[in-house]
Subunit: 308 residues, 2 copies
């Protein structure tokens, strides 16, 4: 390992802001130099508690995250946040207001917050988010939060890669809870009913508790349903407690294996795409293949068979 790289690894493990921010950006941009750093940092990770926070637009996820940061800081924990897709045109809900709420953490050297840059400026995340989480873990943050709006397979995959997943709801989203029956129980380790001072909170809580009973977790974990008012920091201690309890109780070896498999397949996907796309776009053979698909002489699957 080159001296300069060793120095950079050390700087990142001291959680120095600028090298860290730089590396995360390089990962996004798929800069060649990032590759060696990702590999070099990997052995240092594995200690952070990775917490996924997801829920519909308008559920108050960012306010909740901001409150949780304060709660963890009060317990002496260092916290990193990857806020995925906050500027998406389609994430709806509050955008700027919540960001402002987070500003007071910006001067805390033990808090690192980053909005994940997105390919093509539109929301969306790919293999790089997972690797960014890995870097924050290796940097030594105790807690790494990934906040996402939770639509899209890639985002669900990221959430699946967390140790603990919090699904945030608000009272009165009747249809949303109906729809949730389909699949959210599967990924939620903790339900938070935010804005629970609003009418209908008790109904929402009861419904979630009932859902939890209907679909028990394989590892015996009973999914808690917690009432919170994030704007006044009400109920946040219980969220932190339950997350800690889940971290201690859960995350058996099956889940570690699933995370590793996901990480390898994402790395492989990235390798393939960074070789395939330039070949299709620029090489004579690749262009000829694309032409045959355009003219319908060959199907994309047949063309894929002919790519290396």
């Amino acid at each position: 390992m080159a001296d300069s790289q060793q120095a950079l690894v050390a700087a990142i493990r001291r959680r120095e802001l600028r090298p860290l921010a730089r590396l995360l950006r390089d990962i996004d941009d798929n800069v060649p130099g990032a590759d060696a750093m990702i590999r070099a940092l990997w052995p240092h990770g594995g200690h952070a508690h990775i917490v996924g926070i997801t829920g519909p637009p308008g559920a108050g996820k960012s306010t909740l995250v901001s409150g949780l940061i304060s709660a963890w800081r009060a317990r002496g924990k260092t916290v990193a946040v990857l806020a995925v897709d906050p500027s998406s045109p389609f994430s709806g809900g509050a955008l700027l207001g919540d960001r402002v709420r987070m500003m007071h953490h910006a001067t805390d050297p033990d808090v690192f917050i980053r909005s994940v840059a997105t390919r093509g400026a539109l929301g969306g995340l790919g293999p790089s988010t997972l690797e960014q989480v890995g870097v924050l873990d290796a940097a030594g943050f105790d807690i790494v939060i990934v906040e996402t709006v939770g639509v899209g397979q890639d985002e669900v995959d990221i959430i699946r890669a967390a140790h603990s997943t919090v699904v945030v709801c608000v009272p009165g989203l009747g249809d949303a809870i109906q729809a949730m029956k389909a699949g959210v129980m599967e990924i939620a380790d903790l339900f938070v009913v935010n804005k629970s001072d609003r009418p209908g909170a008790q109904t929402t809580v009861a419904e979630l508790v009932r859902l939890g009973r209907m679909a028990p977790k394989a590892d015996g974990w009973r999914v808690p349903v917690l009432r919170v008012v994030a704007t006044t920091a009400t109920g946040l201690e219980a969220v932190v407690d339950e997350l800690q309890r889940h971290r201690t109780a859960g995350d058996g070896s099956d889940r570690s294996r699933a995370r590793a498999i996901h990480a390898i397949s994402q790395a492989k996907r990235r390798q393939h795409e960074s070789a395939l796309l330039p070949w299709l776009e620029s090489s004579a053979d690749g262009q000829a293949l694309v032409h045959r698909v355009v003219t319908r002489e060959m199907s994309p699957r047949d063309a894929a068979d002919r790519c290396q």
Copy 2:
């Protein structure tokens, strides 16, 4: 080509409901038999106008789609719709109501509507949606609509694969329009301001027109901004007209090539993943590799280097 497969291709090209629905489901489930059908149908496609419709939850996309179906049907066009992610827990907005609105198209043999099944019950779409669009195209539908909530890279990729993309807005989503500056202009070929009988519609229209002037399209297309009230079918004829105009004017060879490249890379990704994941999960060598990642002995990228 086996007789049975030839018969199935013929049935699908007659747009017979059951074989078509069956094939789309098989593509979702990655059933081996679907592969030959996808390849066999490919030469028959290339005639449909593929229209992406996207926008934030609550913008009334489904109502708009339903109205556009009627407008196209009145012009004698056959229409297929892939509604992506309607039951997502996180898509928010109206769920059941809009589906009901679409019911009256269900008895029209020249309309085919399908909610795209999603991996793991949570919203999200992958390579299969693109291939489903290809099948509907080959089946001979004049118009193939892909409706998505538009968050997540996979969904944006699907939208990019359309000939024409409609971005649906509603008055009063000020923050959303702010955020849109970042990237939506890039994919929108047509802006529709739905619910434009509401206060603030004119401001929203003016803002979108201004944005359109700031970021002209490479091919010289001026992005129209159209006012619509989907619930009363007001303004829908103009949308259909402009889409037709865009189809005639646009879609040069660059865009066809980009679509083909995307389709090939998605096909390749599917091939890789369907080989890699079982190998990692079940083979002795794969499991050993996963174990080394779990124990931090090896990074996911290093492990990916060792996969075939």
